[in-house]
């Protein structure tokens, strides 16, 4: 599914955070959504998922509006993983992953063999099959994220939108999670993830969209987005660069004493 935004604007708490955003999310790419706090990354992700109404402009899904696609068809097409992924009841991991199949189940239909098979595939892809019998509340942060990812993968939707999927993970689990998201995109899905770690974003994403509070200053391959000028203007930081095994990396090195480091202040 191709998701497009047309002259999109959004407000949060009376403040305009996205202005005239025109983007197209194409299948088969892993896109990272980056930008400072308050730049509207989560807002944009929710708009792409059809979960919020824009202040102006519109979002189309294969050229149609969310209402034209229909709630259930949209749910089968887009899997959405919210930030910090709350789980309110002590469910077993397998039952939680099965929730990802809800868009495919009829009003009264039971769980089909196809549902079971999709849950198995999702559990093994997310390396969470051994956790199936565990109560979600007893899992560690890394295990929990794997189960939540499996829930989103179980929908087998052509689009996966994830809000800060690696935020609470240790470095090992961060690398595993980013690899999993990139592999999901390689299998033909569109994957969009909100990311704060610029090094991971640079290494794993095919495309980065930089948001800066008043628009999209940069959009393209990581090398073209993560320039010193863009990073200084958007984050107010200077970075330290290097390369390992032929892959470039960058480390946020120090904050710059510049008014641009507070993009929130009007």
């Amino acid at each position: 599914m191709r998701i497009e935004t047309h002259a999109l604007s959004a407000k949060a708490g009376g403040r305009t955070i996205l202005t005239d955003v025109n983007l197209a999310i194409e299948p088969g790419a892993f896109t990272g959504l980056i930008g400072p706090n308050g730049a509207g990354k989560t807002t944009l992700l929710r708009l792409l998922a059809g979960l919020a109404e824009p202040a102006a402009g519109r979002v189309t899904f294969d050229g149609r509006s969310a209402a034209q696609v229909g709630r259930r068809a949209l749910a089968r097409a887009i899997a959405y993983l919210p930030q910090s992924g709350p789980v309110h009841w002590p469910l077993r991991a397998e039952a939680l992953v099965l929730l990802g199949r809800l868009p495919h189940r009829g009003a009264l239909g039971g769980i089909t063999a196809a549902d079971r098979a999709a849950v198995e595939r999702a559990l093994s892809t997310a390396d969470a099959a051994h956790l199936r019998g565990r109560i979600v509340g007893t899992l560690s942060g890394g295990e929990r994220m794997r189960v939540l990812l499996a829930r989103a993968l179980a929908t087998e939707a052509p689009v996966l939108l994830a809000d800060e999927p690696v935020a609470a993970l240790d470095p090992g689990h961060q690398l595993a999670c980013m690899t999993l998201l990139r592999d999901t995109a390689r299998r033909g899905s569109s994957v969009v993830a909100v990311l704060h770690d610029l090094t991971l974003a640079a290494r794993f994403c095919d495309r980065l969209i930089l948001l800066s509070g008043d628009g999209v200053p940069a959009d393209g391959p990581p090398g073209r987005v993560l320039t010193d000028a863009h990073l200084r203007a958007a984050y107010g930081i200077a970075v330290h660069r290097g390369a390992a095994g032929g892959e470039p990396f960058l480390l946020p090195w120090h904050a710059l004493p510049s008014p641009t480091c507070q993009p929130e202040t009007p």
Binding site: H88, W89, P90
Partner: protein, 335 residues
């Protein structure tokens, strides 16, 4: 790792249904006059208008069946409210429908209408519950979130409570006040077939509305955004659950008065057996609520206290300590 039920869901439903029906039969057999249930049943089925057949058809059966219906309504809506608000402390009356129903009934009591018409009391209660449901949905339509709705429910609760107190305060004589207080304590005694037929249709409609939300409640386990991304219309869910609670609990309170704790305890009892899935919990909590209410109503007749204890008093006396033990155990398991 916590204990997780391995009993298949259909077996659980069948077992609890059988238990509820058995308790219904026991309830019909228990009473203050010596009673041959078998003879009464055969007389009644054969159409012989004997005294025992009359007692069964007009007193015992309505009481037992009302116990079943009221208990199921309380357990089911309790589970629905807990799942909707994702809060194990939610109970059927949280959105204000119980106290509004009680106020409606008390107004009828106070106005003297209940003496003129036996069905005036439940009708007044149902009108009160409906008013609360309409008020809540109006608040929600103006964009109030879940927290604002709960606060709205608390406001309706305290308004209805203070108006009920006002009615007591202004009661024409102490006996009228006493009658209202006793009614508010909740009881299934001396309810007839009229009340049964009056509350059956709205209760069934309320059950259907609550049960239709099962899938959406499952999805809400992951939070509101994720539930919507899974294709569920949360506005529709809210309207269905508030209407369902008003119909089921409003009718229940209208005929029995306030029967506390069943709606809070039944979902807690059943949650481990449902694997904590909110959708599956609905039916199980309903059946458990029916069993608890029937058992408590059998107990008030078996206890030697005369006049019999009020049902609401017994459910609260058993329910409150039970809840404390349950919470203590939950904390130990979490630790």
């Amino acid at each position: 790792m916590s204990r997780v039920s391995r009993i298949p869901y259909p077996a659980l439903v069948a077992g609890l249904t059988l238990l509820a029906l058995a308790l219904c039969a026991v309830s019909a057999a228990v009473g203050y006059v010596p009673f041959d249930l078998g003879a009464a049943l055969s007389d009644w089925l054969a159409g012989r208008p004997t005294l025992t057949a009359l007692v069964l058809a007009e007193l015992r059966l309505p009481r037992a069946l009302l116990g079943l219906l009221v208990g199921f309504s309380l357990g089911l809506t309790g589970a629905a409210m807990q799942g909707w608000l994702r809060n194990p402390l939610a109970e059927p009356g949280l959105v204000g429908v119980s106290s509004a129903a009680a106020l409606g009934a008390v107004i009828v009591f106070y106005s003297g209408l209940s003496a003129a018409l036996s069905l005036a009391l439940p009708l007044g209660g149902m009108a009160g519950a409906a008013a609360a449901a309409v008020l809540l949905n109006l608040m929600a339509a103006r964009g109030a979130g879940t927290t604002a709705l709960v606060i709205g429910g608390i406001a309706i609760n305290s308004l209805a409570g203070s108006l009920t107190a006002l009615a007591l305060n202004l009661a024409p004589n102490p006996y009228a006040a006493l009658e209202i207080v006793f009614w508010l304590m909740g009881s299934l005694a001396d309810r007839g077939t009229d009340q049964l037929w009056l509350v059956l249709p709205p209760m069934l409609a309320g059950w259907a509305l609550c049960l239709s939300g099962a899938r959406a409640l499952d999805a809400l386990t992951l939070g509101e955004d994720a539930a919507r991304s899974l294709g569920f219309d949360l506005t529709g869910l809210r309207v269905r659950l508030i209407a369902g609670a008003a119909l089921a609990v409003g009718s229940a309170v209208s005929v029995t008065g306030a029967v506390g704790f069943v709606g809070l305890v039944a979902p807690h009892l059943m949650r481990p057996l449902a694997g904590a899935r909110p959708g599956r919990l609905l039916l199980l909590a309903g059946l458990a609520g029916a069993c608890l209410t029937l058992a408590a109503d059998i107990a008030v007749r078996l206890l030697p206290t005369r006049p019999e204890l009020k049902l609401g008093v017994v459910t609260a006396l058993i329910g409150a300590p039970f809840l404390i033990v349950l919470i203590a155990r939950l904390r130990r398991e979490e630790a």
